[in-house]
Amino acid sequence: MRLRDFIIRRILLAIPVVFGVLTITWFLSHMVGDPVVMYINTNTPASAIPGIIRSHGLDQPPHIQYFIYLNNLFHGDWGESTSMSFRPVTEVIAQRFPATIELALVAMVFAVLLGIPLGIISATRKDQMIDHFTRIFSLAGVSMPIFWFAIMLKYVLYYQLAIMGLPHLPGGYRYDSNRFYWFQYTTGFILIDSLVYAHSIPLFVDALTHLVMPGFCLGYLTMAIITRMMRSSMLEVLREDYITLARAKGLSEKVVIYRHALRNALIPTVTVIGLAFGGLMTGAVLTETIFQWHGLGQWAVSAILSADLAAINGFTLLVALIFVTANLIVDLVYGTLDPRIRFG
């Protein structure tokens, strides 16, 4: 199968998945509560409700309602978020999305910068002290209750240091709004806004310090996964004949590992990185709650707890779409990276 066919096939396969996702969210929203709630607020007069029901087709049989739901989605009408003072869901997403993405990217940077070297070190010094240490460290990352880890980090790096009067990391929010009261978001990415639009280095530094703890906390799991993947794929590659050959040729260990082995060992790791991005969205739900991070995750939790249907639907759908896209990209990247893949 050629690459072009593979890509087309992969995209075609993503379509039923997206429809499955839409269907499941529709079902869930109908189970969680009355969908009318998505379209009314406290200011809606009771007399207007039958009209709203009719205009949104909620008096129709279920299959018609399903099509109306799909139609609304495609026309950008995702309902109104009751927990966010009845603002349209799409607007809330647009506003909060950058915060989550910024956090996820920082977490990913942590994970990749630490995970790949640790994996290489662990594999090249297999069964030595440092390998045991790295393995336990990464297994702990996989086993870590992220919400607890966040609280403990906050307790030590923020609370205890602050009590002792030492310099400490901020314990929540995206920036210090008392100091930078004048700041307004433009793109929503604070690291970009502070430099490009606000021209304020102190704000940039402040935002960066705010990112450290939640970023590390969120990135730890991903880092652990990357380390483990890197270690095992590196070990596998090091067993290959061409590595033995490279060593036999008299190449230095450094050249063998970084020129020959690393390139091939990175391929599975890259795909794991792509897939882990979806996992970061899950982790964001817990991390954002603890660090008062005004992103999608925090919104999702408050939405679910207050039965904010439109928000739940919108969030679930969005994350699922990100997941599907990430998987698709990973598959395509994998296909182009690994010449051995035959697109079965």
């Binding site: 199968m1 066919d5 087309i8 096939r9 075609l12």
Partner: protein, 345 residues
């Protein structure tokens, strides 16, 4: 032997595997693994099947046993058409025909003890279970030279040769008439190979078995077989009751024979090596399948497909010029003659 009717009678047998491709996994081509084979196997004989890898000999064996469903053609076993038998009847007929696979390690379930592996056919067909099954399995194991200690071990605790004997014991469990030996010795070393081959011969004499012996090793096939069929690209090109090293009528067989190495330095470099690659079985050449590699090929060879002709005394050849070609003496023949004259070594 031919006074009795054939035990296995194959007519026009074809087995094609579809190749898929494109966005919707459409069938874009077919591998002609077995492409029109006629074959009779008589009771009590060993029919050897040789050919290069990929010529369809393994597929032929499996299709005859209905482990693969044939695309076309008929298979008769013991006078009964088994080409379209359903599951139930097939199960019944399988008591009479068995197979020994090439890789004995892979053909034994790693998590099942030898007793239960060899006894499985007995249990499946409701012949024996429990202590009775154990007794019968033990008898079978003794027949292939193993003993009671081996009953409750796992496959990984045995050597390659032992495993192959276990597989033979399993094939014998149902007391079949016909066994397909699919390269049974290709994964064992030479000393073990001889042992296994002799065991098979002894068992054949003792139990009156009929073998179809598939191998790519000409000397092994010669040692084992009463008749030898040579396959090329899914077809039988020659079927001979004679010594394949001495009388060959098909240029392909001659080329095969000539390629067998000789353990004598004086003959070094004399072996004729066949030119070119085996053509793809997806698009086999028109006319005689061997013509692109044949040194004797003429125009007719690329147009007309030669039928399998009887050259007298049951020697069948599919070549337009069978009997009319002068191959000269093969190195093997020279070597054999030299050996007979006492001049070798």
């Amino acid at each position: 032997m031919s006074e009795m009717g054939p035990l296995v009678k194959v007519r026009g047998l074809k087995k094609h595997f579809p190749l898929t491709g494109g966005v919707f996994r459409k069938v874009v081509g077919r591998v002609h693994a077995v492409d029109g084979v006629d074959l009779d196997i008589y009771p009590g004989e060993t029919l050897g099947v040789v050919g290069e890898s990929g010529c369809g000999k393994t597929t032929l064996g499996r299709t005859i046993l209905r482990l693969l469903d044939p695309t076309e053609g008929t298979i008769e076993f013991d006078g009964k058409d088994i080409t379209h038998l359903g599951h139930r009847e097939l199960r019944h007929i399988r008591r009479q025909m068995q197979i020994v696979f090439q890789d004995p390690m892979a053909s034994l379930d790693p998590r099942v003890t030898i007793k239960n592996s060899v006894g499985e056919p007995l249990v499946v067909h409701g012949i024996a279970r429990g202590p009775k099954m154990r007794e019968m399995v033990l008898e079978l194991l003794r027949k292939v030279g193993l003993n009671e200690d081996h009953l409750n071990r796992f496959p990984h605790e045995f050597s390659g040769g032992q495993r192959q004997r276990i597989c033979i014991a399993r094939a014998l469990a149902l007391n079949p008439k016909f066994i397909v030996m699919d390269e049974p010795t290709s994964s064992t070393d030479v000393s073990v190979q001889a042992q296994t081959l002799n065991l098979m011969k002894d068992l054949q004499d003792e139990l009156g078995l009929t073998y179809m012996f598939i191998s790519h090793d000409l000397s092994v096939v010669k040692h084992m077989s009463d008749r030898v069929a040579v396959m090329y690209l899914g077809k039988i090109v020659e079927l001979t009751p004679h010594d394949i090293f001495r009388t060959t009528l098909h240029p392909y067989t001659f080329a095969l024979v000539s390629a067998v190495p000789i353990p004598d330095p004086r003959f070094a470099g004399k072996a004729t090596i066949l030119k070119g690659e085996v053509p793809s079985p997806v698009n086999p050449p028109k006319g005689c399948r061997f013509h692109p590699r044949c040194i004797f090929a003429q125009e007719v060879c690329s147009e007309e497909e030669p039928p399998l002709r009887d050259m007298g005394d049951g020697h069948l050849v599919a070549c337009h010029f069978a009997g009319a070609l002068d191959f000269g003496k093969s190195v093997q023949q020279e070597y054999a003659e030299a050996a007979e004259n006492g001049a070798a070594m």
